[in-house]
């Protein structure tokens, strides 16, 4: 069917298959159950695919309401003082001088007086800028949670791992494991095997170094410490000049926020164009050249060994890698606006599972639902909910010490207060024999102490391991306005099982459906 020119894409083919199955339900009632099963599976795949697309389009995100709430507490007073200066004409001379300087034209000729009034405005604007890129509300939080935390590595390793061309390190600082898959296939001398093993190890190291460079140097906010960061929010004097000329005595605090945040949004969009160009023209090329180099190095043995299969694997990996890069490049777009369509916890688990399976095909979840209302749907915050579970599942894959990582997920609801539901999710996983339980408990206790203080923001961007700080931060975003009950998180080890549980309060809206059944639409705010 898919070779017919009638179809424009795989989704078209899938829709056609769905229609055929629906027809077959009527035409062949004996096999009704088989067709129903197929229909269910096609719909499930379509839902997951559309949700993943939604999440992919939300990777670059700024929590603007969070920034505004913070600014309202921290900057309003300073801003009112600035406006007061303007009203008393203290800044008028500054204004005149500025106009005069601007009138001469030329960007380099601009200069802003460094008096107290301008210093105050500069302080407000730069604080807002810092918040916009911060690991708390801003860009760095979402770059860290939605791209750097394992995801980029999983995505970019996947096309190489699928052809068994890359291995992992024995330990964090140890050498790479030998590429037994290919070495076992070569019928040659031990000396050749040793040479080939070195070639594969060097390739693994170079490829991982490239990913590390993208994660640790490129996908960073540019600063003195991160000089190669592609997200450059360095604000020159002209930015302050522009703000000073745009803000008048009548500009409200909210208007000022919108003005500054609008300029930062524009800057973000320019940065994203640059990031996409760099990934397309440099990172993709570098990755491709590493595979080419591997092929050249291996081809030196073509006189002694049949390299047909490994050459085919490298060629296919190169084609797949380019498609993967194109997909990653598409993450770097401004987040799509508007809230998501209603979804269930099962949807979130499926999407997070699919994201992790993309990098680790052997990963599995087993979901069990206790006391969950039928037609229980949530609205909004899907990407944040997916962040939480994808982080948790990523930990299961990376830190359980198991070859076949499995996460058991239990969800249940508490309905103790009218119009408020608590969604509880507990994820457990076994810990492999290589995990030192005492060390793990110590590490978890240390993190719990930091989390209990509530002051963990400085750990957010650096949290490359368990992601517990990021998970806690994301959970904080899921709260029900108008209720005192806060979201909760717990984690620990029981025997040789790791658990993490979260409780999220949701405000309930009841909607009458057409056939008068009650549908609960729940909103995270």
């Amino acid at each position: 069917m898919d070779t017919s020119v009638a179809f424009e894409g795989a989704n078209d083919v899938s829709n056609e298959r769905l229609q055929v199955c629906k027809q077959l339900c009527d035409l062949d009632p004996e096999n009704y159950e088989i067709y129903q099963q197929e229909i269910k599976e096609i719909i499930r795949r379509q839902v997951i695919s559309s949700r993943i697309q939604e999440v992919d389009q939300s990777r670059i995100f700024i929590d603007v309401p969070g920034i505004k709430e913070w600014a309202n507490k921290e900057l309003r007073e300073s801003y009112l003082r600035y406006i007061s200066y303007l009203k008393h004409g203290i800044a008028s001379e500054v204004s005149n001088e500025r106009r005069e300087v601007l009138g001469t034209g030329g960007r380099s000729a601009m200069s802003v007086p460094t008096n107290e009034v301008i210093a105050l405005l500069k302080h407000i604007v730069l604080e807002l800028r810092d918040s916009y890129v911060s690991a708390d509300y801003g860009l760095d939080r979402f770059l860290s949670t939605r791209i750097r935390h394992g995801l980029l590595e999983n995505q970019l390793r996947r096309p190489i791992e699928a052809h068994f061309l890359i291995t992992k390190k024995e330990t964090q600082k140890g050498p790479y494991l030998p590429n037994q898959y290919w070495l076992d296939e070569f019928d040659t001398t031990q000396a050749n095997i040793n040479e080939l093993s070195k070639i594969f190890s060097n390739f693994s190291e170079s490829y991982d170094n490239l990913i590390a460079k993208l994660n640790n140097e490129w996908i960073q906010i540019k600063s003195d410490k991160k000089a190669n960061g592609l997200f450059d929010f360095t604000m020159g004097e002209e930015f302050i000049t522009f703000m000073a000329s745009s803000i008048t005595e009548t500009t409200s605090f909210n208007d000022m926020l919108n003005l500054v945040l609008g300029k930062l949004d524009t800057n973000l969009q320019l940065n994203l164009v640059y990031v996409r160009e760099e990934f397309n023209s440099k990172a993709k090329k570098e990755a491709r050249e590493l595979l080419n180099k591997l092929q050249v190095n291996i081809s030196k043995f073509s006189g002694d060994i049949n390299l047909s299969n490994v050459s085919a694997a490298i060629s296919q990996a190169r084609t797949d890698l380019q498609a993967t890069f194109d997909r990653v490049i598409e993450w770097f777009i401004p987040s799509r606006s508007g809230s998501s369509t209603p979804y269930t916890v099962e949807d979130v688990v499926s999407v997070a599972e699919a994201i992790i399976k993309d990098g680790t095909p052997g990963f599995e979840t087993r979901l069990k639902s206790d006391e969950v209302s039928e037609d229980f749907l949530m609205q909004g915050s899907l990407p944040i909910f997916v962040d939480i579970l994808a982080n948790i599942f990523d930990n299961v894959v990376k830190r359980s010490g198991l070859d076949v990582p499995i996460a058991d997920v239990i969800q249940w609801e508490d309905v103790s207060i009218a119009d408020l539901h608590i969604i509880n999710i507990k994820v457990t996983n076994d810990l492999g024999p290589g995990i030192d339980i005492i060390e793990l408990e110590k590490e978890l206790a240390r993190k719990r102490t930091i989390l209990d203080t509530g002051d963990y923001s400085q750990h957010l961007a650096k949290d490359q391991k368990s992601g517990l700080f990021k998970i806690r931060r994301s959970i904080n975003d899921l709260h029900a306005i108008g209720f005192d009950i806060k979201s909760k998180m717990d984690f620990g080890v029981v025997g040789r099982t790791y658990f993490i549980s979260i409780s999220i309060p949701y405000r309930v809206f009841k909607l009458e459906t057409e056939d008068s059944e009650i549908l609960m639409d729940i909103e995270a705010e």
Binding site: A10, A312, R318
Partner: protein
């Protein structure tokens, strides 16, 4: 010469495009999958078609996974041309020396023979492509000149 190039690998497509457009006389039109190649073959007229053998069903994009991989996509395209009486001269350029899996596995030579037998009117041969050497260009030119063609 108007040439259709059907190739899903970005790097190989670029190398072939540069090679095929070595004179101003040539216009190279690109397709990245079985479907986009077939649609162009049906809708337009070409003097030469350069096919990959293994390709996705649809063009791969960030939102389109490409559908089922077609291990013999090039052969299928030749079949579709045969059905439609399209006899444009065609060369296959591939990075692989065996195709398919299990019972379907075919070597490059077996496939070459089969394609000559099945499509004697327009199939010019297979050129093995490699990123490690540029000999494939001479091979391509030889295939062309032995059929009194040149690019």
């Amino acid at each position: 010469m108007r040439i259709l190039l059907v190739e899903d690998d970005e790097d190989k497509r670029e190398q072939l495009r540069i090679f095929l457009s070595n004179t101003d006389r040539n216009e190279v039109i690109e397709a990245k999958s079985y479907q986009s190649g077939l649609k162009k073959i049906i809708a337009e007229t070409f003097d030469l078609i350069v096919l990959d053998m293994t390709m996705p069903t649809f063009d791969v994009t960030p939102t389109e996974g490409g559908g089922r991989p077609q291990p013999f996509g090039g052969k299928e395209l030749l079949q579709q041309m045969f059905r439609r009486d399209i006899d444009t001269k065609t060369i296959v350029v591939t990075q692989f020396d065996q195709f398919g899996q299990g019972d379907e596995t075919t070597t490059l030579n077996e496939l070459d023979k089969l394609l000559f037998q099945t499509f004697p009117g327009n199939y010019l041969g297979i050129v093995p492509y490699s990123v490690t050497y540029s000999g494939w260009k001479d091979n391509f030119n030889r295939k062309m000149s032995s059929n009194n063609l040149s690019i």
